[in-house]
């Protein structure tokens, strides 16, 4: 019996804009198994990012439950959420979101700093991760604005892997990349998945579906079908 690593139960997220209530998510339930490769698909505004942020403990639901590794997030205080995020989740953004004043390798070191790794250890591991993410080694000491989009996304993936998280979350990781580079990034995510990491990718590019084993389709904040 496959192990459930992420579970959401009747999750609702309401944004209030003036008198309007927007149901970004409406009683969404789903289970994600350990080692799965999930794509979350849907049109713009369907609630994909909202769902992913919730899985990453960056946001809390208005009602419903989110469980990660069988831990109910609503039972955790701020420090608990932080350490759960730190130890279980790697985040990859569409905009890369690297810190511009730091070099590629320093960016990768950041999550390790929060875990108290020594400088030597951090540096060694960060360089190894950059290699794994297939960033050409000569770029390791460049600042983000000296790298191409694809290279920046590789740095961001290396950073997401820093604390060896069991879950990798990516919000349109290929959205800012050309098709060829995008496929390169997806290949990399597939390799990581094959090595055991649970990967959850938000995308509205149907071509990316080929990489996934499970697809969650969202429409107006509701899951319309979940196929495997």
């Amino acid at each position: 019996m496959p192990e459930t690593i992420v579970e959401i139960k009747k999750v609702t997220k309401i944004y209030t804009l003036g008198a309007n209530k927007i149901y970004a998510l409406n009683k969404v339930s789903a289970k994600i198994e350990k080692g799965d490769f999930v794509t979350i698909m849907g049109s713009s505004g369907s609630g994909k990012s909202t769902l992913l942020n919730m899985l990453g403990c960056l946001d809390l639901p208005t009602s419903g439950k989110v469980l990660i590794n069988n831990t109910d997030l609503s039972n955790l205080d701020d420090d608990g959420l932080t350490s759960l995020r730190r130890n279980n989740i790697g985040f990859i953004f569409q905009q890369f979101n690297l810190i511009q004043t730091l070099t590629a390798v320093e960016n990768v070191e950041i999550p390790m700093i929060f875990n108290g790794a020594s400088p030597q250890k951090r540096r060694k591991r960060a360089l190894k991760l950059l290699q794994k993410a297939q960033l050409p080694p000569e770029y390791a000491h460049h600042k983000p604005n000296e790298l191409s989009g694809g290279q920046q996304q590789r740095v961001a993936i290396a950073r997401a892997l820093a604390n060896n998280p069991p879950i990798l979350l990516a919000d349109e990781p290929t959205g800012n990349l050309d098709t060829k580079t995008g496929h390169g990034v997806m290949e990399l995510l597939r390799e990581l998945n094959q090595a055991g990491t649970t990967v959850i990718v938000v995308t509205h590019d149907p071509r990316m579906e080929e990489y996934s084993r499970t697809t969650i389709r969202l429409q107006d904040g509701e899951i319309v079908n979940e196929d495997t």
Partner: protein, 385 residues
């Protein structure tokens, strides 16, 4: 090194201009504070030295309802045995009319035991002609202030006629002239205790003892010990409340101004830090997503505020000390102000206190921006550009 400190230092380094501006704002405020504190301390000491130093620190008067202290040997001995009393001078003081040729003036005539009065009031250092201690040997001598001498047209060696109702008219000779620069120069004449007793026709009595203390701040304590013996006694702060009042008013108005300066400088820190928070929104959101805790974020901004405050305080204190000391060592034109340089005192405790207070004030000022950064919504923060 804790990573919070590392990040805080990076923020500070990355925003050189703002850093310099806010450190300078705090620094200037602290500098003004330091200089003004040094002047204040110098001014206070100057007042003490010119007034309190020459005042008797405690004055003992006859018992309630009596005009004189009889058999004063006992009380003088007792007073001298009180801890902190370094000298005592029994005296007999009263009013008298002085006449020289066609000029007359009224003034106080104070009969003293010269070496003892010298020990209490340091009369000799103000004597400009003759010798104060001569009084001990010349039975009919007086020591007169320069202003009164000028008014009466008296010179050294001249004899002046001293009279008063119910007193024995005497002819006394000027044996010394003093100049204190205070109203005493016009209103107080010293003679020997024996001469004063002859003049007022009393037995061997006195009507007061003036005391000098090792520490003039002890005046009230010593006075109250003496009061327990049945005599009246008052410290200089009770006899001259106006001196303390002047100092207190000066000091408190000074401190209110300085407090405002510091407050304004600290507001500068809040607004600078708010700007830093705003400009670091995205970075802060990213750090949160990467696993940095809210308390860590809060600490980063508190540290920034503290570091800026400390840097400003230390630099300002340094600059203030240098300015104060160099103003203090600048010689004033002689004789114009009666002092050779502007009195300035830089006390290490003041420096330490100012630095500590400014540092704490900045930490407090940093709480609001730090709290703001720590309560950011990471999702929104990341999506800002």
């Amino acid at each position: 090194m804790r990573y919070e400190l590392f990040i805080a230092l990076r923020h500070i380094k990355a925003r050189k201009r703002q850093t310099i501006l806010s450190v300078a704002a705090i620094g200037i405020a602290v500098m003004i504070l330091m200089v003004s504190q040094a002047f204040m301390a110098g001014f206070t000491q100057e007042i003490y030295q010119t007034t309190v130093a020459n005042l008797p620190h405690v004055v003992v008067s006859p018992q309630e309802g009596e005009d004189y202290i009889h058999l004063y040997g006992n009380i003088v001995r007792e007073v001298n045995s009180i801890e902190g009393v370094v000298a005592s001078s029994p005296y007999l003081i009263g009013e008298a009319s002085f006449r020289y040729r066609d000029k007359t003036a009224n003034a106080a005539l104070k009969g003293v035991v010269p070496p003892e009065e010298e020990a209490v009031a340091h009369v000799s250092k103000d004597v400009i002609e003759g010798d104060f201690e001569e009084l001990a040997y010349s039975r009919r001598g007086i020591v007169i202030g320069d202003d009164l001498a000028r008014r009466l047209g008296l010179q050294m060696g001249d004899s002046v006629e001293v009279s008063f109702p119910n007193a024995n008219t005497l002819s006394l000779r000027v044996i010394a002239i003093y100049d204190t620069g205070t109203p005493a120069d016009e209103s107080l004449i010293y003679t020997s205790l024996g001469t004063a007793q002859d003049f007022y026709g009393t037995a061997d009595v006195i009507n007061g003892i003036s005391l000098r203390l090792a520490d003039f701040n002890q005046d009230r304590e010593v006075a109250s010990i003496i009061r327990e013996e049945g005599y009246r006694a008052d410290g200089w702060t009770q006899n001259n409340p106006e001196i303390l009042q002047t100092l207190a008013i000066e000091r408190s108005s000074n401190q209110v101004t300085l407090g405002f300066i510091l407050l304004i400088a600290s507001f500068g820190v809040v607004s600078t830090l708010n700007m830093v928070v705003m400009s670091k929104l995205k970075e802060t959101g990213i750090l949160m997503a990467m696993g940095m805790s809210r308390s860590g974020i809060r600490l980063v901004f508190l540290l920034e505020s503290g570091i800026l405050g400390l840097a400003g305080a230390v630099l300002g204190a340094l600059a203030g000390t240098v300015i104060a000391l160099s103003v203090g060592s600048y010689p004033l034109p002689e004789g114009v102000y009666g002092i050779s340089s502007i009195p300035v005192i830089v006390r290490p405790t003041d420096v330490f206190l100012i630095i500590t207070v400014v540092f704490l004030l900045n930490l407090i000022a940093g709480i609001y921006p730090a709290q703001r950064a720590a309560s950011l919504d990471p999702v929104k923060a990341i999506s800002t550009r």
